[in-house]
């Protein structure tokens, strides 16, 4: 009986630590960030770290965004592209790929789609990470998982330097996906190979200037 086990486990824990001394306070003497407070340098670091783990990184401004997204989809041969709810319509204004709205597509239906375009919640420069939280323009988690090409738009002001800076900005009640490069494995001889189950191609578009 689970109910009995609950009481039993709790009782065992209490008796196991009954004589233990109080544990020392948690110290947080570690750094909040490892990078100088210079937005330009932080953006460069994000670019460098994303590229280091084999994401393709591009830079543009607001005016060039639609053309750049269209080019990325075209060059990758994407004929269809799933569109998460709340994605700014102008982002796909130039795209020739057929836009597929996410009307609760089944996993099998998503598997037949070539690409997905999303925004993000924030990005972490020091680790080369993009975080999605299912907010507008990001969609449910399956959308950025099943299609083989993920084009992700990151605005300059969404970039933070470090993991400790990212944590308070994220809402743990939302399902979060932290993405650092395309899927990879180290399972063969502990050597890193990119491209397993998640999107094998991750294209990140860094956008300068405010929307």
């Amino acid at each position: 009986m689970s109910q009995n086990s609950r009481e039993r486990i709790l009782a065992r824990i209490r008796s196991a630590v009954a004589d233990a001394p109080e544990a020392p306070e948690v110290t947080r003497a570690y750094l909040t960030r490892h990078t100088p407070d210079d937005p330009e340098a932080v953006l460069d670091l994000l670019h460098e770290n994303l590229a280091d783990y084999r994401a393709r990184v591009h830079r543009t401004d607001e005016a060039g965004l639609a053309a750049l997204i269209a080019r990325r989809l075209e060059e990758r041969g994407a004929r269809t592209c799933v569109v998460p709810d709340g994605l700014p319509a102008e982002w796909l204004a130039d795209a020739t790929a057929e836009a597929v709205p996410d009307g609760r597509l089944t996993p099998a239906a998503l598997d037949a789609v070539d690409a997905v375009v999303t925004g993000c919640a924030l990005a972490v420069a020091e680790t080369g990470t993009i975080v999605l939280d299912g907010g507008p323009g990001q969609g449910r988690r399956a959308l950025t998982l099943v299609p083989d090409l993920h084009v992700c738009v990151v605005r300059e002001e969404q970039v933070v330097a470090s993991v400790p800076e990212a944590m308070p900005l994220l809402d743990p009640r939302r399902p979060l996906t932290w993405i650092s490069g395309p899927s990879a494995t180290s399972d063969i001889e502990l050597d890193r190979v990119e491209g397993v189950h998640g999107p094998r191609t991750l294209e990140v578009v860094l956008v300068r200037g405010r929307a």
Binding site: T27, T185, D191
Partner: protein, 478 residues
């Protein structure tokens, strides 16, 4: 802990076999040396590594000291977010809970994310016995499952296999489990990864039930965290309708903020990456995104026994990064199978005997599976003093007695008597010197023979030192 590797010989016998396997040693040497240098570089990037390590240690210690409080808080938060929490005192109970949950869905297959806890309890075998097929989806777990093999490393369970062996396993067995390996599959890691992608995709797309573990559980928010690389984790956590997570009770951390420490130290320690490709966090269930039913099975299975040991409880800080395996000279030569447990290497040598006890021969031998060099402690991101716990557990094994320890005590008693009687000692020394041509290369008798099998016996001089000293001491010649 269930007897996953029942009938395993004690570490020394298993290790003796393993070190004779040249291919195994070459595979392990290659893999562990590759990751060792990379880890050192990844860690060196952070100037505050020592402070992160100290913070991680203290967060875990504080959690363990008040584990009941944090588990109750976690239960409340998970339940409030739409999840259901189950408590399992041991492996059998956890397996029963999971099996019943799967049966209730009416499904006869599940997809699994790599999870040490489910390996520890032998969940796949328990599901199989009830007619439920569990598909491992982590690449290394897949290699182990297809090869009907046993895991030999915490992070990379197929570390003992090289690319050629993996290609052969894929070619021969994939067809029996689903989509066969592509024609003309080579041994290039990229092609092998592609073969796994194709093989598993159909399983992901049709799966209705996913089973996972978790790297962390956040008490204040009820959030679970899975850290992975391939995307198989995301598939299992996202696409099925029902998600069941089996997690050891020591995996809880108090606050969301605490993750900022471990999300910096875990990837660098395990795969030597600044960040692993994918980290998923979820809190209960979310409408229209991911599974609509979420079950959390909290697993004790010996952990509260470890918690009761004032020296040994630090092993429960472990975040399963496997850095200690990769630097261990004993692991590098003996391999993971010799440890007779899903937890091999230095951490396994202190964790397994605490979870299972030291009654069996293999478990009693584990605290001795170390040269106490201390490399494991150096790299541990939560500062577990593994050598300290090893010595402590050796004491526990020795206190219990057993043939070896009785002989040792008798030998020490005899030596004490001889050293107390100088005439006897001198006579003995002379006899030993004069008969040295007859001395065997190995000592006879149980215990002594094993001891001298891997060690050279010292050569005795032609004359005892005390006799030589009497003849040569300067004062006598003057």
């Amino acid at each position: 802990m269930s007897g996953v590797f029942m009938g395993m010989p004690a570490f020394p016998e298993a290790a003796r076999e393993a070190v004779r396997d040249e291919r195994l040693r070459a595979n392990l040497r290659h893999a562990t040396h590759t990751i060792r240098d990379k880890r050192a570089r990844a860690v060196a990037e952070l100037d505050d590594w020592a402070e992160l390590r100290e913070a991680g240690k203290r967060i875990k210690d504080r959690t363990l000291r008040h584990l009941d409080t944090y588990l109750l808080r976690l239960e409340e938060a998970v339940t409030a977010a739409g999840g259901t929490v189950h408590w399992a005192a041991d492996a059998a109970e956890a397996n029963r809970i999971v099996t019943d949950l799967v049966k209730a869905t009416g499904e006869s297959e599940v997809v699994k994310v790599k999870s040490m806890a489910t390996q520890e309890i032998g969940l796949n075998e328990a599901l199989e016995a009830e007619g439920i097929r569990a598909y491992e989806t982590d690449l290394a777990e897949l290699i182990v499952q297809l090869g009907e093999d046993r895991p030999s490393h915490i992070l990379v369970p197929a570390i003992h296999r090289n690319r050629g062996e993996i290609r052969d396993i894929f070619r021969e067995t994939m067809g029996g489990w689903g989509r066969p390996a592509p024609e003309g599959l080579s041994d290039s890691p990229a092609e092998l990864a592609e073969a796994a992608r194709l093989h598993l995709r159909e399983k992901f797309l049709r799966a209705k039930v996913g089973i996972s573990g978790a790297n962390f559980m956040v008490a204040e928010t009820g959030t679970l965290v899975v850290v992975e690389s391939e995307g198989n984790g995301r598939m299992c956590l996202t696409l099925p309708e029902t998600l069941i997570s089996v997690v050891g009770i020591e995996k809880v951390v108090p606050t969301w903020r605490d993750l900022e420490v471990f999300l910096q130290t875990l990837p660098r320690s395990s795969t030597a990456e600044r960040m692993n490709p994918y980290t998923s966090t979820w809190t209960g269930t979310t409408d229209d995104d991911g599974p609509s039913a979420f079950h959390l099975v909290l697993l004790d299975n010996g952990r509260t026994d470890a918690l009761a040991d004032e020296v040994g409880r630090q092993a429960l800080r472990c975040i399963r990064c496997s850095a200690c395996l990769n630097v261990c000279p004993v692991y590098e030569r003996a391999g993971g199978h010799a440890y007779g447990s899903v937890y091999p290497g230095p951490i396994g040598a202190i964790l397994t005997p605490q979870l299972r006890g030291t009654a069996s021969e293999v478990d009693a031998s584990l605290p001795y599976a170390s040269s106490l060099c201390g490399a494991c402690y150096e790299v541990c991101p939560v500062a577990i003093d593994i050598p300290e716990v090893l010595v402590h557990l050796r004491g526990r094994v020795a206190d219990r007695g057993g043939p070896g320890h009785r002989l040792e005590k008798a030998a020490v008693r005899a030596a004490t008597w001889v050293l107390d009687h100088p005439g006897v000692l001198a006579a003995g020394e002379r006899v030993a010197s004069r008969t040295r041509g007859l001395h065997p290369k190995r000592l006879p008798g149980p215990g002594a023979r094993q001891w001298s099998e891997s060690r050279d016996l010292p050569e005795l001089p032609a004359e005892p030192f005390r006799d030589w000293w009497k003849k040569n001491r300067p004062g006598d010649r003057a």
